[in-house]
Amino acid sequence: MTQFSKDDDSVVVVIGSGAGGGTLANELCQKGVKVVLLEAGARQTPATFINDEWAAFVQLSWLDMRTTSGSWRVATDFPNLPAWICKTVGGSTTHWAGASLRIQEDEFKARTNYGDIEGANLLDWPIGLADLEPYYDRAEDKMGVTRTHDIPGLPGNNNFKVMYAGATKLGYKDCHTGRMAINSRPRDNRGSCLQLGFCFQGCKSGAKWSTLYTEIPAAEATGNLDLRPGSQVLRIEHGDNGKVSSVVYADADGAQHQQKAKVVCVAGNSIETPRLLLNSASSMYPDGLANSSGQVGKNYMRHMTGSVYGVFEEPVNMYRGTTMAGIISDESGNDPDRGFVGGYEMETLSLGIPFMAAFLDPGAWGREFTEAMDSYPHMAGMWLVGEDMPQESNAVTLHPSDKDAHGLPVPNVNFDDHPNDVAMREHAYTQGSAVYDAAGAKRNYLVPPYPSTHNLGTCRMSAEAKDGVCNQFGQTHDIDNLFISDGSQFTTGAAENPTLTIVTLAIRQAEYIADQMSKQAV
């Protein structure tokens, strides 16, 4: 394996190996750029993944101490688990469901299209769909997204059959087995989906795209990647000229190391990325790195979410097969007549018995709860995911007193639903229930949001330096050689699952960084 010297100041240091960091590292390596990829978690393989919800959760999740505040229910039910994301090589691409949807043209112009929504800190993206289309195309090809590049859709499972029957009866037109980064036929040296039913636990067949066994080995094969698992970055350092010059990280034994860098790219997901910038405050940057706008950590978005589980007379056995097996997109447009701006997607979802117990109605007990559990084989499930409003008060901040194992402040995640989020959720619950009613449901369970899987916006891109943290390439406005490379860049959340866009932005960013390096501009 390639090893670069810690004193080698010609390397690009990428922090985080998930959808953003893992892709960026590979794209840079393919262009001949030397990359040190620092990943806080350990390296698993499909063989070491576990078909067991709690065991896999412990194996893959980011479980370091975090705190929560605000009126969201997660703060009550899971006060130290604001987000269900991963600390492992491959990041949350080990855990994601695979839904790969492009952001819609109009969604890039949220401020223009939605207007001045009270309490919302809306802003148009500095780029549009046309800027990203060629990169979306490359991302879809790389990830093997079904229904693109002549790749057939996945076969629908039982859970999808229920969704489809209800959707068509209700008059919805846009319902199918989705655009999924899961092989429907062998591709890219990976087999096709075995319908395991454990997408969230790490795909043991490797049919689902993850940087763990696609981007990262491809980068390693170039000889340009030095991947260091078990490396938790503590701070980014800069020189007298204001440019970043090195990072300090702790290895798995807690020993600290300094790695010099020409460029630093942060892709720690939308909680750790702003935390790292804030924890890197210096006399030159007293409010944290790249924070002249004051927007680092602000505008935290988690998507409007919720779930509906319908119970039917006949068995469904939703746990069989692809977790996210189909989608209804009819509600994904912006139609303010519904009482809210933005749109949402409806996507099948399934939980096993252990996680159904944990998430159905956290804190509940008694007969109503156990009757729901007893109906498990007769349940069909869907997840509702839509655009939530950026709000400045929804923020990742440093806890004033609680420290982690390295003595650094832990992150606090504050979140309140915006009234628009609440109105959208109510509508989505009603429509989701209507889908299942149309398919013959005896009753429906409206399930509150899980800890966040889509964490976005905390270092957002903006045309003007005063409005955000980075430019359209993820380059921070304040520091030329410091980049944001994950979903933190999102100016607004859009309705779509974000991974495809994170990968797309990483491909585009790699081109930009390589170009800037060749011009010696960074």
Binding site: N158, T177, R185, Q195, R320, G352, G366, F369, A439
Partner: protein, 182 residues
Amino acid sequence: MSQTGFDRRGFLKTSGGMIFGTLAASSGALALLAPSRTWALELETMDAETGAAVLRVTRYIFPHDTLDDAVYALVVKDLDAEGAETVELLTTGVASLNEAAGGTWMDLPPEQQFELVAAMETTPFFQKIRGKSVVSLYNNELAFAHFGYPGESFSKGGYLHRGFDDLSWLPQPPESASPKAM
């Protein structure tokens, strides 16, 4: 079956008590999985009376009428394994139930037992049992068998050839929406 926590070597001496049970004749799926129709749970720290009462409290918090006591006993086992602090909390909680019962809570009629448990909803005693139960009760193969959830699927090749799309009580979606498996 080591993960189920049953241990029939009852002669082993421990500081805790033991609780016993017999699988109900109706618990067919469990009977197939369990090593014996009779079971015993050996407790590390908790005394037998507290263990039996905690098992009963767990039944009121998550009442599945046909779910065998053997599965609820797994919650008691996991609580016991947490050590002295938890056992102290539970022992004190059971004592409170007995005090409220004006005798032995376990001897009250079921309706009165339930009322006294419900009255403790906000206490650390209740919340400790609820919080442990919501994981332990539903995270074992005996429970999986009861609820009709098979768990692990990779070793069996997933569901591609084992019914992932066998639902037949609704119309088949068209291939444009749901292509055939390849």
